[in-house]
Assembly symmetry: C2
Homo-oligomer: 340 residues x 2
């Protein structure tokens, strides 16, 4: 009963006036309203949650593409090139950059930034960067909400760019319909091993800077590696595409691969499975963040003395960790139902 | 009330006979019983939880040292060398290897394995490897429970070895009183960036294979990097120690650094803070695993049709993700209180 209450009590008709106004302006395509909504979403909290809940029924139309790779792999140049092609094909684009090395987030050299601002002058392109470290693992929650806002605002293609390192960034990639992993020639075995978690989630491989020595070998190695993965008849085999984003070579083929992957997913029914996976991963992460807030507030906050004392009892070996986890989980659920 | 029930209802006096027998044999120092208990812990479930709860009051005496670094950094050779020194200093040792590239887990060349088995013949050394991928992120839960069992069995020093890659492995390192991060000369900037998450948790840095070109530069770079970290007067500054584990050079200095770090933590009161942090991280991870089981069972399991339908409603844009997360969290708490 109380859990039923937990979701039926969320704002439906009872959305406050400023949330409703902002939501309508976002739906009308106001970039100013979208920018403001994204600022809300970055901060998180009840206001952001109300806005996202209000807009959620209007999402689900955008094609969401994730772009990840090691720092220095040229992802951002590639993102820009893909954005230009999508514009030429008559689509509107949102770019969400959560990569500290991206020119979108201001980490790049001046030349890159100038080229970016050219793109930014196009009213059919909306660019936004996000801080890479939110409080309590909130990055993937914030990124998912930000993608929803861009989707609700009517942007047809949303490119989400992360650096392929942490679990948070991998979680962000799990929001995408298609994940592009960017490699470059000449990275050693260590890096390949470190990237393993990212390679698993690739739908399209790009070997960027393909004019460099060793590009053919990197392409061949990736293809060889892909043959080792289990795959049933008729399933999608990630293409490995050489490119040089800086020279604008191979970009059309990547844009085509993105379209092909979406077409494959639609005809095979994979898109519905993917959408369910995205929803499940997203809901799980939100629930886990809610638990983290409760457990860590117990350890750190001014309130929650009872929670702190449970942890204290574990530290004194009077209460087992599993028992404490169950007790704190019950408190997190109570707190979440309260809507804090 | 129900949450109070969640932990007071856990087995105390009511431990079943086989759990009680195994627990007593572990406390008596039977390595056979310890090996069996670790098998329980690896499988997880109610039996493992009961055993861990029974033994938990007898933990907290071992010194827990985490050892991490990139594949090929020579961590395992270093672990062996440190184990030999600790034996020479009269201590008993447990080694828990959760690194797929470790000779403890069988990934190494024959020569290494033979040297390992020499160590394994010593009754004062207990070696155990664990699979690196458990179900639903259960690796750090299982590793923490395994360390507890070794601790309860009276092993004085527990070395936990992981490869410094995934979030799971970083979580495992958060169990340790002292974390040793092993680097090698000549890794590029990309790898340094990828390792950033691991570098943050280092208490002692080892530059292994210090006979290689570029070792001095790597040591200097790490020291320079450490001066950039904020540190108050009198706090621990991680030493950067060159070593060659294969030639048995520099190992005594590392063993001394481990002792110095523990002594520092005891006199400064840092050890209590660390223990609280370890407990908090561990309890949080268990609670989040419990949530994952509920949410993913909703998506995948034969039961839980109601949970699946909540996720389905999110996929159909009828229910917002945050609202669904709150509802599923309440169910996870109910399920956890039931003690499944």
């Amino acid at each position: 009963m109380s859990s039923e209450h937990a979701y039926t009590s969320l704002p439906d008709g009872a959305v406050s006036a400023d949330v409703e106004t902002l939501a309508r302006n976002i739906l009308d395509g106001s970039t100013r309203a979208l920018a403001r909504g994204l600022t809300w979403v970055e901060s998180g909290g009840a206001r952001a949650e109300a806005l996202c809940a209000r807009l959620y029924p209007n999402t689900g139309r955008a094609q969401i593409v994730g772009l990840t790779g090691a720092p220095g792999s040229g992802k951002s140049t590639l993102a820009r090139a893909l954005a230009l092609i999508a514009r030429a094909r008559g689509r509107t684009i949102g770019v969400l950059a959560v990569d500290p090395s991206s020119p979108f987030t201001g980490g790049a050299i001046l030349g890159d930034r100038i080229r970016m601002s050219d793109l930014a002058l196009d009213p059919g392109v909306f660019i936004r960067s996000m801080a890479t470290r939110g409080a309590l693992g909130g990055l993937s929650r914030a990124a998912a909400d930000a993608v929803d806002l861009m989707d609700a605002a009517g942007l047809g293609l949303v490119l989400v760019e992360t650096v392929g390192v942490g679990q948070d960034e991998v979680d962000v990639m799990r929001l995408a319909h298609t994940v592009v992993v960017v490699s470059v020639p000449g990275l050693g075995d260590d890096v390949q091993a470190l990237k393993a978690g990212v390679l698993e989630i690739a739908d399209v491989h790009v070997v960027n800077k393909a004019d460099r020595d060793g590009a053919d070998r990197t392409v061949a190695e990736l293809r060889a590696m892909l043959t080792l993965l289990p795959s049933a008849e008729g399933t999608w085999i990630p293409p490995v595409l050489p490119a040089s984003a800086a020279r604008d070579e191979g970009i059309e083929a990547i844009a085509d691969a993105l379209d092909n992957h979406m077409a494959y997913q639609k005809t095979s029914g994979e898109l519905e499975r993917r959408r369910r996976k995205i929803v499940t991963a997203r809901v799980l992460r939100i629930a886990q963040d809610l638990v983290a807030v409760t457990v860590l507030a117990g350890a750190l906050g001014p309130e929650g003395a009872e929670r702190a004392s449970l942890l204290e009892r574990v530290a004194r070996r009077e209460l087992a960790p599993h028992a404490c986890a169950r007790a704190l989980l019950a408190r997190a659920a109570g707190r979440a139902a309260g809507g804090s």
